[in-house]
């Protein structure tokens, strides 16, 4: 809270994130409409009391679809980042304690994985395996993993020779116990802050791939598919495109502003890591 009071960008970000969270979490519960319920008589309806943002090309309520899409994006982004964080921390911290040869192999793996442009890689994989959320999440998580892995390794290396770890070792603790009980809790704070900075990246990638028709499959509402449907029906009504774009920007901007304020406020040294 103190961090946010000092940073106008951070407070703006917090406000955006809060509204996105409320919209995405409460919207689907409160809406009387089915997000995939088609009502052809109501195609491209103008905003009204019944449909606050109007309707899309199939007469589906835009506000409802947006709320479901927001919830999906929040879930996908946090799930993907959590997966990348888990894998990256496990492998990265592991290398600090593993045999040097094994650590070397993992590090080369990080380098190779990081050397691929993530969207291009995703295109190649989706072209071969087909689209769908179950492909999207592991692909994006894998592209984020090396970043977390390297930071986790650097931190674990630093902690490995800390006095309290030496003391624990002298008391006869195993490497596994030291890793889980002492190293992990000490490095998690900064990593979680850095992970929050990757949320907008994942939201963008997911929406981008879905926009291309390579991510979330219709009729499921996602910000990307809503953008592409709005793009296709631009001449009839720009409203669906504008609404989906606005929510997407609110989300990425909010998470970025909040994440940066948290990082700078909690630990300025993290700036050099990200």
């Amino acid at each position: 809270m103190k961090v946010l009071r000092r940073s106008p960008g951070g407070s703006a970000g917090a406000a955006l994130v809060l509204s996105v969270l409320i919209f995405g979490l409460l919207g689907p519960l409160l809406s009387p409409y089915d997000p995939t319920g088609i009502d052809v008589a109501q195609r491209f309806a103008a905003p009204s009391w019944l449909h606050p943002f109007g309707t899309d090309q199939l007469g589906r309520d835009l506000a409802t679809r947006l709320a479901y899409a927001t919830r999906l994006a929040l879930g996908l982004a946090s799930g993907t980042v959590a997966l990348a964080l888990l894998g990256g921390v496990g492998l990265g911290a592991g290398t600090a304690f593993a045999a040097p040869r094994l650590a070397q192999i993992v590090l080369i793996g990080f380098d190779v994985l990081a050397a691929f442009p993530s969207l291009i890689l995703a295109l190649a994989i989706i072209a071969a395996l087909g689209r769908g959320i179950d492909r999207l999440v592991p692909i994006i998580a894998a592209s984020l993993l090396p970043h977390f892995g390297r930071i986790a390794r650097a931190q674990a290396l630093g902690l490995r020779s800390a006095a309290f770890v030496e003391a624990e070792r002298a008391l006869g603790a195993s490497t596994g116990r030291i890793l889980v009980m002492h190293i992990l809790p000490n490095m998690l704070g900064p990593l979680v802050v850095l992970a929050s900075l990757d949320l907008p990246v994942v939201v963008t990638l997911e929406a981008g791939l879905s926009f291309l028709g390579l991510g979330v499959t219709p009729p499921l509402a996602s910000l990307g598919t809503m953008l592409s449907e709005g793009f296709a029906n631009l001449i009839r009504s720009p409203a669906p495109l504008l609404a989906a774009g606005a929510v997407l920007v609110a989300m990425t901007l909010g998470f970025s502003l909040l994440g940066e304020a948290l990082r700078d406020g909690l630990d300025p040294r993290l700036r050099s890591l990200s």
Binding site: P8, G9, I108, D111, V112, A115, F116, P117, S118, L119, I120, L121, L123, A124, I125, I126, A127, A128, L129, G130, P200, T204, A207, G208, F211, L212, L214, L227, F231, L234, P238, L241, L242, G245, L248, V249, T252, L253, F255, S256, L257, E260, R271
Partner: protein
């Protein structure tokens, strides 16, 4: 420049390319069914599938296919496209200049605006301009580039009508092609302005705190010369590194810009091939994109050695 200094970079580049080949090949094995059936669709006759399978060499054992695949890619020949009957290599060569022009223009835009903005902010850290820039650059970086592209398309097709929003311009008319380049460049490069400005600002502030700058000041060297010449040369190094890494994101941005503005290019070639389930063309396109990315990083590494004598000494 010492060959020994560049050698490790070249080795890691080759390792990445080999990994890319392996991955692209492994993916063909993972295609549900096989590439020939995927290309021809569910209603193809067995005879047609057999013919295409033989033509694509899919009836050979896996190690033979892998070996031939790698040889072909290493030679830069990508075989013949089954759909159009044209060499895939010339299909790529045809569209590549459009993508390179777009990427180059976007980087130029980002450097032209981002570097001065970063220097200006670093000269007065904590000032009003610095704080405005800090917020503005986060906003520029955070907005997805395809949203920028869509917004520009919306604005210029519905309201402004000043610039063309579709295609790459008439062949042989450089002015028309330049006009067609403006909006895609803005879409790809806008986020980069903020990115470059932040990098330059951060590394410049760090460099300005070093003793050699204080010495220069004590010698009476002017403020402008210190900032723009003495400090910037050192501050440029981390910014360059980030541009090399960010080049992959730039290629990703180009994919969206090319599709949204209906522009020919590597991105739209890959995308159309995915839509047509034409996997050999996807493979070739993705491989060239990865090649561009690692080449950009290699060029940045070489540039470092040239900019920073300390690295040259360390490597020699």
């Amino acid at each position: 420049m010492h060959l020994g200094a560049v050698l490790p970079h070249i080795a890691s580049t080759l390792a990445v390319l080999a990994a890319a080949m392996l991955l692209l090949f492994a993916l063909t094995l993972a295609i549900p069914g096989d590439p020939a059936t995927a290309l021809l669709g569910p209603r193809a006759t067995p005879a047609a599938i057999a013919a295409i399978t033989a033509e694509m060499g899919l009836d050979r054992p896996v190690p033979v296919r892998l070996w031939r695949f790698m040889i072909v890619l290493a030679r830069g020949q990508f075989g013949t496209d089954i759909v159009s009957g044209r060499p895939i290599g010339s299909m790529i060569a045809e569209v590549l200049p459009f993508t390179l022009a777009l990427a180059g223009a976007a980087i130029a835009l980002a450097l032209a605006l981002g570097v001065p903005a970063g220097i200006y902010a670093a000269a007065r850290p904590g000032g009003l301009a610095d704080r405005v820039l800090a917020l503005g650059s986060v906003a520029l970086v955070a907005v997805p580039n395809f949203v920028v592209a869509l917004a520009l398309l919306l604005l210029f097709s519905l309201v402004l009508h000043v610039l063309p929003v579709e295609g790459a311009g008439a062949p042989g008319d450089p002015l028309d092609q330049l006009r067609h380049l403006v909006l895609p460049t803005l879409a790809v490069g806008l986020g980069w302005i903020g990115y470059v400005a932040r990098l330059v600002r951060a590394s410049l502030i760090e460099v300005l705190a070093q003793p050699y700058i204080r010495t220069a000041r004590a010698f009476g060297i002017g403020r402008a010369r210190i900032l723009w010449v003495l400090a910037l040369r050192n501050a440029a190094i981390p910014s360059l590194a980030a541009i090399g890494v960010g080049f992959g994101r730039l290629l990703g941005g180009a994919v969206f810009a090319e599709i949204i503005f209906a522009r020919p290019g590597l991105g739209s070639l890959i995308f159309d091939a995915i839509e047509a389930r034409n996997y050999p063309v996807v493979q070739a396109g993705v491989f060239v994109a990865i090649l561009l990315f690692v080449a950009a990083n290699l060029a940045v590494d070489a540039l470092f050695l040239w900019l920073d004598p300390r690295l040259r000494m360390a490597a020699a």
